[in-house]
């Protein structure tokens, strides 16, 4: 198996969010700004990479019938680790009391555990492949997820607030709808449509 191909497939061709429609809850819930989307994406990548590595190295010792529960325990442990780390080090409010990144992501951090991407990769890839290949697969899929969240977050922040990552590009308030819930659905709908067009183009060439 080609490692480079494993790594890049997560971005465009098999992008977990925009093509496979996995992990939609955190995608919509944490993409109200570019930084939130990116943080969520990276937190998920962390869990994905480590659980892939651990699962691929222990899977041959695990009896088939308790496979899923064991994987869930491994994943949930790494999620808890991320939760504590973020609570400790990404928990500083802004100077006007903008909530910290940890507070903004809120319930979505423990919910990484039910993100279908993580268990999906464990079951479909890590349990059947070697440690290094699983690491690359986790990294690729995780970064693909982070990429989609960052894109959606940037689009929403730009349209809704006129800025990306806090840098103001457009004066004024922007279209506020895009930072509120309806805008999340609309922006994602259009982004998926664009991705389809792009994949059709790529397939033709």
């Amino acid at each position: 198996m080609n490692n480079l191909k494993n790594f890049t497939k997560g971005f465009i061709k098999e992008n977990p969010v925009l093509v496979l429609f996995l992990g939609l809850c955190p995608t919509l819930g944490t993409s109200n700004s570019a930084i939130n989307g990116l943080s969520m994406g990276l937190a998920t990548t962390f869990v994905l990479v480590l659980s892939n590595v651990v699962i691929s190295s222990i899977s041959r010792f695990i009896p088939d019938k308790v496979r899923i529960p064991s994987y869930i325990v491994v994943i949930a442990s790494f999620v808890t680790v991320v939760d504590f780390m973020m609570k400790a080090y990404l928990n500083t409010p802004g100077k006007n009391f903008e909530p910290s990144i940890y507070d903004q992501l809120g319930i979505f951090i423990p919910l990484i555990v039910v993100n279908c991407i993580v268990l999906g990769r464990a079951e479909a890839f890590a349990s059947k492949n070697g440690v290094f290949a699983s690491l690359i697969d986790g990294l690729g899929m995780g970064l693909g997820f982070a990429f989609a969240l960052f894109m959606l977050g940037s689009v929403r922040e730009l349209l809704g607030n006129g800025s990306i990552l806090g840098f103001k590009f457009i004066k004024g308030d922007g279209m506020l709808m895009f930072v509120s819930p309806p805008g999340a659905f609309l922006a994602l709908g259009f982004l998926i449509m664009l991705m389809r067009k792009l994949n059709q183009k790529l397939a033709k060439n």
Binding site: F21, C25, G189
Partner: protein, 191 residues
Amino acid sequence: MDYILIIISAVFVNNIVMTQFLGICPFIGVSNKVDTSMGMAGAVMFVMVIATMVTYLLQQYILEWLGIPFMQTVVFILVIAALVQLVEIILKKVSPAMYQALGIFLPLITTNCTILGVAILAVQKEYNLMESVVYAFSNAAGFGLALITFAGIREQLDLVNIPKSMKGVPIAFIIAGLLAMAFMGFAGIVK
């Protein structure tokens, strides 16, 4: 805390799907037909109330007692997974008719983030047992409301001519966006 406040807030104002973004996968996945979405809503309600009750008791009486509240995520997800299996087995034996209606949705529920989400939120909001149960029930009702409304719209959508690249999921998201806008109108009714 007023129970009516919890109910109205969870069903309309802070609707779990339209404003909290939990349970999006089944919301997009099983909303093609009204009757399947009713089945899903029923199964979610059933499991959510039981799961919230069990996890609440676990948190209060076992985890706190053992001094290991940090195992919360691990324990909750395992308990929910086991509970779903248990419900499936019991339902099969006790009420085959109900199993017929809800059975196929049960395996899908373990990875439905509304269940774990509501269980954790009920603990975070420091509700007591009765409030947690009411909270779970009304969130499930809110999920059902959004899902069934959405399915009703999508059934009509099959008959409409839409651009090829918008078919299926993209147009579903656009519709969901419009529905979310309608739900925003509920904000402010809890004072």
